[in-house]
C-alpha cells in the first residue's frame, strides 16, 4: 500500500502547485512563472499516476503521450494569435472527449449506482463539450457560417434529445450490462452538443468558449468521481469555476443573462428601426494626420476588425510615432471585444504594446473627456452610444466605451455595413465623428507615412 500512499501524496502536491500557479496568474508580472508552476504540478500528477501497481504495460501509454504531446506542441508553436479562440475551442473539445472516454472505460460489471451516475455525467458533459467545441471551432474559423443556425421545430427536437438523454441515462443506470442504453446516451450527448451551439451567433462566441472551457473542467471532475480520483476532482473543479466566472463576466459585459445568450437564437429578435439623425462625415488620411499631429491625448479602441485586418503591428507603430510626438496614447479594451475573453490584449501584447497601456473599460471611460482623438479600429457594438441612449435598441443597457465623449472620434471602417449584431450605430452620425473608410491596416499605414 505504500505506492498507493505515495501516489495520493503526489496528487496533494500537484493540487497545491495548480492552486499556487493559478494564484500567480493574477498578475502579468508573475503569470508566466505561475503557468510554469502549474505545469510542474501536472508533471508531478502524471508521474504519481504512473506509479499505479495496476499498470503492467507502458507501451500504449507512451505511444499516446508521444503522439498527443507532439500534436499539442506543434499546434502551440504554429498557431497565430488571431486564431487563439479557435485553438482554445478545439482544445476544450479534446479535454471533453478524453473525459468521455475515461467515463466510458470506467464502466465495470460491479459499478455501484453512484459510480454509474457519475459515468453518465462524464459521458454527457464530455460529449456535449466535444461536439459543442467542434461547432464553435467551425464558427470561429469560419469553416461553417458564423451566424446563428435555426430551423422550425428546433425546440421540439431539442426537447426530444434531452428526454432521450434522461430516459437513456435512467435505463443505463438500471441495466448497466446492456450496452444499448450506453450507446444511446453517448450518441445523444454528441447530438446535444451540436444542437446547443448552432443557434448561437458569432458575436456571442466569447460566452460560448468560456462556458465550454468550464464544461471541459466539469467533465474531468465527473470522470474523477467515476474512477475515484482526487486529482481529477480538484483540477477539474478549478477549471470549471474559472470557466463559469469568465462566462459571467462576458454576460455582464453584454448586459445579458446566460440563458438569453444560449437561447436567444430561438426567439426572433425584434429589431426596431432606429431613426438616426445627422450625416456621415468621411475624412481623408491627410486630414486625419493633421488632427493627430496636434493631439496630446489619444485613445485607441480596438475590436475584432483589427484582428481581421491584421492591423495590430501597424497600430503599435503609429502609437510609437504619436508618443515621440509628445502625445499620450492608451488603449481602451471592452471585455467582449474580439472572439474570446482577453483576445485584444494578447494581440496587442504580441505587437509589443506594454500591458500597462491597455486599460479596461471602467478605467478609460472617466478619462474620455480629456481625450483629443479616440480612434476606433474595427469595433462597432462595443462603442455604440445607442446602448446608453436608445431604449428600444437591442443592446440598450450594455456597458460601452463612451468614445463620443472625446473631442474627436475617428472610426476606421471598411464600409457602412452594420456590425456583427446588425445594429445601426448612431456614433457614425455624431458631430464629432469622422469616418476613415478603407482597410484598417492600409489607413494606418497611410498615417504612418505622413508622420515619417
Amino acid at each position: 500500500m505504500t505506492t498507493e500512499l505515495i501516489t495520493q501524496l503526489g496528487y496533494v502536491v500537484a493540487a497545491g502547485l495548480f492552486i499556487f500557479g493559478l494564484k500567480m496568474l493574477g498578475s502579468p508580472a508573475t503569470a508566466r512563472r505561475g503557468n510554469m508552476i502549474s505545469s510542474i504540478g501536472m508533471l508531478v500528477a502524471i508521474v504519481s499516476a504512473l506509479l499505479d501497481q495496476g499498470i503492467v504495460d507502458f507501451t500504449y501509454i507512451a505511444a499516446g503521450m508521444v503522439v498527443g504531446g507532439a500534436i499539442g506542441a506543434i499546434a502551440a508553436r504554429a498557431v497565430a494569435m488571431t486564431a487563439m479562440p479557435e485553438m482554445v475551442a478545439l482544445f476544450n473539445g479534446f479535454g471533453g472527449a478524453a473525459s468521455l472516454l475515461v467515463g466510458w472505460a470506467a464502466l465495470s460489471p460491479d459499478s455501484t449506482t453512484f459510480t454509474l451516475v457519475t459515468i453518465v455525467l462524464s459521458i454527457l458533459i464530455g460529449g456535449v463539450t466535444l461536439t459543442g467545441s467542434l461547432v464553435a471551432y467551425g464558427k470561429l474559423s469560419e469553416t461553417i457560417g458564423s451566424g446563428a443556425i435555426t430551423f422550425s421545430g428546433q425546440q421540439i427536437v431539442n426537447s426530444l434529445v434531452v428526454l432521450g438523454i434522461v430516459g437513456g441515462a435512467a435505463m443505463f443506470c438500471m441495466n448497466p450490462t446492456d450496452p444499448t442504453w450506453l450507446y444511446m446516451v453517448i450518441g445523444l450527448s454528441l447530438v446535444f452538443g451540436i444542437m446547443a451551439v448552432i443557434p448561437i451567433g458569432g458575436a456571442d462566441m466569447p460566452v460560448v468558449i468560456a462556458l465550454l472551457n468550464s464544461y471541459s473542467g466539469l467533465a474531468a471532475c465527473a470522470a474523477g468521481f467515476a474512477i475515484n480520483n482526487n486529482a481529477l476532482i480538484v483540477a477539474g473543479s478549478l477549471v470549471g469555476a474559472s470557466g463559469i466566472i469568465l462566462t459571467q463576466i462576458m454576460c455582464k459585459a453584454m448586459n445579458r443573462s446566460l440563458s438569453n445568450v444560449l437561447f436567444s437564437g430561438f426567439a426572433s429578435v425584434s429589431t426596431e428601426e432606429t431613426v438616426v439623425e445627422g450625416e456621415i462625415k468621411p475624412i481623408s488620411v491627410d486630414d486625419a494626420y493633421y488632427v493627430l499631429e496636434a493631439a496630446t491625448n489619444v485613445a485607441i479602441i480596438p475590436g475584432y476588425g483589427m484582428a481581421v485586418a491584421q492591423a495590430q503591428h501597424v497600430v503599435k507603430e503609429l502609437t510609437e510615432l504619436l508618443e515621440n510626438n509628445g502625445c499620450e496614447v492608451n488603449f481602451g479594451i471592452h471585455p467582449v471585444a474580439g472572439r474570446m475573453p482577453g483576445h485584444m490584449n494578447v494581440l496587442l501584447a504580441e505587437a509589443d504594446v506594454p500591458y500597462d497601456q491597455l486599460l479596461e473599460m471602467d478605467e478609460i471611460n472617466p478619462r474620455m473627456e480629456m481625450v483629443d482623438v479616440a480612434i476606433v479600429i474595427g469595433a462597432n457594438d462595443v462603442v455604440n452610444p445607442a446602448a446608453r441612449e436608445v431604449e428600444s435598441s437591442p443592446i440598450y443597457g450594455m456597458p460601452v466605451i463612451n468614445v463620443a465623449d472625446a473631442r474627436t472620434v475617428f472610426v476606421l471602417k471598411r464600409s457602412m455595413a452594420s456590425g456583427f449584431a446588425g445594429i445601426e450605430n448612431p456614433l457614425f452620425y455624431k458631430d464629432n465623428t469622422r469616418m476613415l473608410f478603407g482597410d484598417a491596416k492600409e489607413s494606418i499605414g497611410g498615417l504612418i507615412r505622413e508622420f515619417s
Binding site: 499539442g72 476532482i233 469555476a241 474570446m340
Partner: protein
Amino acid sequence: MSGAEYLLFILMLSIFLGFELINKVPATLHTPLMSGANAISGITVVGAVALAGTGNENVAMWLGVGAVTLASINVVGGYMVTDRMLGFFKKKED
C-alpha cells in the same frame, strides 16, 4: 478513504477555492487564463493512464489509450501556448 461523501467534500472546497482564485485575474490575462485552465483540464490523463496500461487489449484499454492521447494534446499544447502568450506581456520601459 474514498467514499462518495469524501469526494463531494473535496469538490465543494475546490469550487469555492477556484472562484476565489479566478476572480482576482485581471481582464488583460483572460486569454492565457483560459488556455492555462485548458491545460489543467488535461488532468484526465492521470485517470487515463491506469486504464491504458492494464495490458489486456480490450475495449476499456483502447478507450484509455484514446483518452491519454487527447488529454496529452491538451496538457502539452495548453501549457506551451500559454507560455508563448505570456512571454508577450511586457511592462512599459521608460
